[in-house]
């Protein structure tokens, strides 16, 4: 479970998030939509503290995962990131073999047991619906896969270390329609075991995959409700305008 309380976020002097409070429940899919530059990625990257990599940032408010403030003193960022996996917009496999890509998280966590690693790699690839396509070429470079396969490989890589939350930042925006459909189907399956937060600029996608949707604009959370309700009967006029395509 993720919860934010009155979060303000600044890049230097620029306020990218304004007073955002939100709750995402276990084993649900939450989608963030909104025009580009409205702060969706910034908000998403709060949950695994990826924003920490950027110099001169500043956060106000609270950000809790399972009740614990992840920005509190003494929180180990690498431990947090093992619990909160992430899939990026562009597929970004390592220049390693397919197998080693998936095994990466296990290895950096000090896992040595060969059988366990092999088993975990297979399970993860299966969860990412990629096993059948790659089981005969695990030792081949990940770069030999198609874009859609690479993205599913990145999902498998994130799943391998058994996170409880998976963050996805426009995971299908660089993919063709068939690969996109596969990823969406996958998200649907993953919901059983993971809490998923997905950023998308594709409203149909949000409608198809998510249970709840948050609509952002200019750093503010305009509306947050059940996806069905949001798309059929939004409360705010701005939301209505955005999903009917009047701007964005």
């Amino acid at each position: 479970m993720i919860e934010t309380k009155k979060v303000d976020f600044f890049y230097g002097d620029f306020q990218a998030l304004k007073n955002i409070s939100m709750r995402m429940d276990k084993n649900t899919v939450t989608a963030f939509i909104g025009p580009s530059g409205c702060g969706k990625s910034t908000f998403l990257r709060l949950f695994n503290r990826m924003n920490d990599l950027i110099p001169d940032i500043h956060l106000k408010g609270e950000c809790l995962i399972d009740g614990q403030d992840i920005y509190a003193r003494g929180v180990e960022v690498d431990e947090l990131r093992k619990k909160v996996g992430m899939v990026f917009q562009k597929p970004n496999p390592f220049p390693k073999s397919i197998f080693e890509n998936v095994a990466y998280g296990l290895r950096v966590n000090g896992m040595r047991d060969k059988n366990f690693i092999e088993q975990r790699v297979e399970e993860s690839l299966q969860s990412a619906a990629l096993w059948g396509e790659v089981k005969d070429k695990l030792r081949k470079s990940a770069f030999e896969l198609s874009g859609g396969q690479q993205q599913r490989l990145c999902i498998a890589r994130a799943l391998a270390i058994s996170p409880s939350i998976v963050l996805m930042d426009e995971p299908a925006s660089a993919l063709d329609p068939i690969s996109t459909a596969k990823i969406e189907e996958l998200i649907h399956d993953l919901k059983k075991h993971y809490t998923i937060v997905i950023v998308t600029h594709n409203m149909q996608q949000a409608a198809r995959v998510s249970d709840k949707t948050g609509f952002f604009m200019l750093g503010e959370l305009i509306e947050f409700s059940d996806t069905k309700k949001m798309f059929i009967n939004p409360e705010k006029e701005q939301t209505q305008n955005y999903i009917t395509g009047r701007f964005g």
Partner: protein, 404 residues
């Protein structure tokens, strides 16, 4: 309008093609020239052109090798039986001696020493154990008592396996490159051994750990170091490193292979650092983020993702560093003591290939075998660098294809 642009594009394309072709051909021609001049060495006679070696006809020895000639004239071989001849002490005869044996009149000096060949023949005929190194211009007439010894041409084996480099020795110059090749490899290898870990360390620090401000100060400073002329480094080496090495290791002389390695390492560092750092910084942000997002630490990300990803750039850094080390002339010439002898330890004077070329090319007569031997050294240098870059290429390629 459109047509004009097309024509212009064609012209530019053609110009680029031509300049590319010209450059490639020029490079090939330079290499071809190098090898043509160099390979001429193996057709050159062992003894200087215009000279020959003569013995008494009674002497059964038919031919002599360069090192045998050298040792005979250095009095290291003193008896013919060491060369398969009779048990007789060798009498070495040098051309000058003839002037103390005969007066100018006896040699008919006024008449361009017309009698010189005859007199020389007399001397050789009179002494069955004699060996004489004489200009062919005044060559004694060959008859029952005088014969020429075959000295042959310089062979590849003598050149590549010879342990003595004495390019001006008379009567037979010694072109054994082994000490020079070993000297070069030793100095370069040691230099790389020092420079590589240091250089990569600094590169990692600069690209991954240093703050933007430190980096902005450090980077131009290091790039500046790369531009300092090598004589300046050599001078620094001579004034600072040579005494330092001498004192630290308690040596008789501070000009050693190790001193050369140190100065080369210092010189290769800026290149290695800048090239490797650029390569590492070029690792896409997405790669680092992917690694960090999996809970990898900064350090794990560096050695498991950044370094493998930038491996081809890093090997370029290594090649350039080694290239600089192997090809560097001046600084090494100044601090290694320049002794063309077989090196046994790092703490002896050595002589490298480039230093030899630089030091001797001026005094070698164009077209002489010494001159050809120096070109051959150039060829060896070329081949060594070629091997280094091919190896580096192969390594970086393999890692990239298979993944680590």
């Amino acid at each position: 309008m459109k047509k004009l642009r097309k024509i212009l594009e064609r012209v530019i394309e053609a110009m680029l093609t031509v300049s590319g072709a010209v450059t490639s051909i020029a490079i090939l021609l330079i290499v071809a020239f190098l090898f043509r001049e160099g390979l001429g060495l193996f057709k050159s006679p062992t003894v200087e052109r215009g000279y020959a070696v003569y013995v008494n006809s009674a002497n059964p020895v038919q031919s002599l090798l360069p090192w045998q000639l050298k040792e005979i004239f250095d009095f290291q071989i003193e008896n013919w039986n060491e060369l398969g001849g009779p048990d007789e002490e060798i009498r070495v005869f040098r051309f000058n001696e003839i002037f103390s044996l005969y007066t100018d009149e006896q040699l008919d000096a006024d008449n361009d020493y017309a009698l010189l060949p005859e007199r020389l023949a007399e001397v050789i005929a009179a002494n069955p154990a004699i060996i004489a190194y004489l200009p062919q211009r005044y060559a004694p007439v060959e008859d029952e008592s005088v014969k020429t010894v075959q000295t042959g041409t310089i062979t590849m084996a003598q050149f590549f396996l010879g342990r003595k480099w004495m390019p001006t020795a008379k009567p037979a110059a010694q072109f054994g490159v082994l000490p020079l090749v070993l000297g070069t490899l030793m100095v370069s290898f040691m230099a790389i051994l020092i420079a590589l870990p240091l250089g990569l360390g600094v590169a990692i620090y600069m690209s991954e750990l240093a703050s933007e401000r430190v980096r902005r100060l450090l980077k131009p400073a290091i790039e500046l170091l790369a531009g300092i002329p090598s004589v300046v480094y050599g001078f620094f080496g001579l004034v600072v490193l040579v005494p330092l090495v001498q004192r630290t290791f308690n040596l008789d002389v501070g000009e050693t292979a190790f001193t050369g390695s140190l100065i080369l390492a210092i010189m290769a560092l800026p290149t290695i650092i800048t090239v490797a750092e650029d390569a590492m910084r070029n690792t896409p942000r997405a790669m680092r983020e992917a690694s960090l997002a999996m809970g990898a630490t900064d350090w794990q990300t560096i050695y498991r993702v950044v370094i493998p990803y930038s491996l081809s750039g890093i090997s370029a850094a290594v090649v350039l560093g080694i290239g600089r080390a192997i090809g560097e002339t001046m600084a090494v010439l100044m601090v290694t003591g320049n002794a063309a002898v077989m090196p046994h330890t790092l703490f002896e004077p050595v002589r490298t290939i480039p230093a030899t070329i630089a030091a001797e090319l001026g005094e070698a007569a164009s077209g002489s075998s010494h001159y050809q031997a120096l070109f051959m050294l150039g060829c060896i240098l070329f081949v060594i660098t070629l091997i280094v870059s091919i190896t580096a290429e192969a390594i970086s390629k393999r890692k990239h294809e298979v993944g680590v």
